[in-house]
Symmetry: C2
Subunit: 419 residues, 2 copies
């Protein structure tokens, strides 16, 4: 009998370990989020520095570089301290993403040397930073795609979307700053900024829909963000219809966007801490149940060994395949309390699995869309915005979901003509 209990406890211990790996994964996301934020700031200031041919913000640029270096060092130290077998959920894929990210980070010194020497254009510098941030976001995406606990997974998906939304906000800031500085905006720039705004809103909507338990905090923090001012400036920017823009507004735009982005970063930190706290709460809860179960060993002999087991096997539902309403009472000398434990554990795991499937479905859709965009960019020579527009247009015309169209495109990859 105690063998049954032993393996139930082993099952619980496996769950605790999975949650501990998940908690470490949350730390990783927090560390990477900080690095992304620093790189976004460095990217912005590098553009100002390059755009002014080194006359503006040289000092601030150096400060930002130093801040990025500190954040990168923290990331490296975290990795070093954590690198051991089974440290992270989803190890094989996550470590591959880490390798990718480190590879991208290895390019930073050369990029910075180019910026310092004014040896590259603002646009080129911007693209290189964007790729770097993309590699780090891909890491966060992989971290969110773990099959452990649906509530934590949902929060990680929320966190990823928040971070992605912030990245689109950063790109909007850069695009608008360039236009205001130039004193005019081209049709192409307009379209690009509209795309960043739409993607931002999509990502933030997804963030909101997955951020259960965090919404009140989000509402409160959101109230402090300069949304009205941002919308006013967006209107100025996007309705100029090729009339000159007021270049004096460049600073106001930059400040307003930055305040909002910094605010989003604060939300991100709070959310990441919230996820970690949830993780630890779950670990403590499971640990407590484990301790309680330990006490049963001493109690079990005192319980009636012939207690009825009438509905024992209904708990097998999710996974049993023998069928039949099983009142035959196999294992009848087990106590009812252990049967309750078995049933509760089995039902809980079954529910977890189903909820997880839902969360992962939404991640799979993101992947499909990104991959289809990639195919269109490569095969048709489109930029990201237009690839997305094409997908959306097809979806609307055919009254299908964008993910479905993406799936159809991917299944045709082989036969699509190259651009």
């Amino acid at each position: 009998m105690s063998n049954v209990l032993n393996y139930l406890i082993t099952a619980r211990r496996c769950e605790v370990e999975e949650l501990q790996r998940l908690a470490r994964t949350c730390q990783l996301v927090l560390t990477v989020g900080k690095l992304i934020h620093c790189l976004q700031q460095e990217r912005g200031i590098s553009n100002i520095y390059l755009g002014s041919r080194g006359e503006r913000d040289a000092l601030v640029w150096r400060e930002r570089v130093a801040a990025s270096e500190v954040a990168q060092q923290e990331f490296a130290s975290w990795l070093e301290a954590t690198e051991h077998d089974n440290a992270l959920s989803n190890g094989a894929r996550l470590y591959t993403r880490i390798a990718f990210a480190l590879h991208a980070l290895d390019g930073l010194p050369r990029l910075r040397a180019d910026v310092a020497a004014l040896a590259c254009s603002p646009a080129a510098s911007y693209e290189r930073f964007k790729t770097l941030v993309g590699a780090l976001l891909a890491l966060v995406f992989e971290a969110a795609d773990v099959a452990v606990d649906p509530q934590i997974s949902r929060l990680l998906v929320a966190l990823f979307n928040l971070m992605q939304g912030k990245e689109f906000a950063g790109r909007e800031r850069a695009g608008g700053a360039a236009a205001f500085a130039m004193g005019k905006i081209t049709r192409e720039q307009e379209q690009s900024i509209e795309y960043q705004i739409e993607m931002q809103e999509q990502a933030l909507r997804r963030f909101e829909s997955f951020a259960e338990g965090f919404r009140n905090e989000w509402t409160a923090m959101q109230a402090t963000l300069p949304l009205a001012e941002l919308e006013r400036l967006r209107r100025k920017l996007l309705t100029s219809h090729e009339r000159p823009l007021d270049s004096d507004m460049a600073d106001a735009w930059y400040q307003c966007c930055s305040t909002r982005i910094d605010g989003l970063h604060q939300v991100e930190i709070h959310l990441a801490q919230y996820v970690q706290a949830q993780c630890h709460a779950k670990i403590i809860e499971l640990q407590k149940e484990l301790d309680d179960q330990g006490q049963w060993f001493s109690q079990e002999e005192a319980l009636d060994p012939l207690a009825p087991l009438a509905t024992f096997s209904s708990s097998l539902d999710g996974g049993h395949l023998s069928g039949g309403p099983m009142d035959a009472g196999v294992g009848p000398h087990l106590t009812q309390s252990i049967v309750d434990l078995l049933r509760a554990q089995s039902e809980r795991l079954q529910n977890l699995t189903q909820e997880l499937a839902t969360v992962r479905e939404s991640l799979e859709e993101r992947k499909l869309i990104e991959r289809a965009k990639g195919v269109l960019m490569m095969k048709q020579g489109l930029n990201e915005e237009n690839a997305y527009r094409l997908l959306r247009k097809h979806a609307m015309n055919q009254n299908r979901r964008i993910a479905e169209v993406a799936q159809a495109i991917l299944s045709l990859t082989e036969i699509l003509p190259d651009a």
Copy 2:
């Protein structure tokens, strides 16, 4: 740079560990399969013993009990030798199933005492064994539902379906033996046997469709099974139209079914060994690649550190979300060979994930159908056959798949009336 390589190697090592857990899971399935086979034999002989009021096969019964005990001991020893953290894939759910199985096995001594004392009916004994085998099959099902390697997962799904098909064959043997012994078959018995045959054929079809790489061996082994003779006896049994059956055929029926079941057990053993061999081959392959990568550390300095990286980021497709054809050359001092490694690893994992999703879908469907059957049995007081018939009828009437109907029923569980 070697950091990038370090983490790629860590990712590979994670994969190797996952495969090692999977190899252990295969061993577990082999051990459980043997135990199931012994219990099926014991179940059959117990029925003969009980049906003859202890006059027939008392000695054989004792031999079978001893054989089951040996198999159960092997299962227990395997568990004991393997119980350590992270020993098995999918730990939390698998250990819960193991606890369930041990709980069911705890009931065996009492069941055997009842059989020995002729204190239960053949039907009651049969049901209790069926429940027990069901708990062990549920364990195998859980073992097949692992998200590691799609090829191995497919083979495990094949193995599970083979074992399930064999269980249905065992039930058919018992039902037919009872009818031949009685010298007549009721309409209800006929329906039950037809159901066992249909389920058997379904399970074996699924086994065939998932058993890639093993089909030639299956075809060869299948040729040795007494299929023509079985079909002849089935025809006699199911077309008697309430005329008397020839009781002298009871032995022929039992022998024929048993030969086939033993043959299926041999196929099962060969398949389980084949899966293990595939697992080990993959481990060796990955290990070899790991060793090769180790050599790169010494080579890398000799390679051109400025080799072009034009298409580096296209490999991010599956998971990156930054977008843009990234020829910006982040991390440009990395060697091409490392980039190739990164890309290959990323693509491989992406493909694995997609293939796995397909395999798991088929498992999810099985679960849905089993759970819907359970609901119908409980709520409508149906037996397993009729619950399945009802599902199939609805599916045919509505021109939908059985899994879809099952899903619909499950979503209505709360509001379905009790029987």
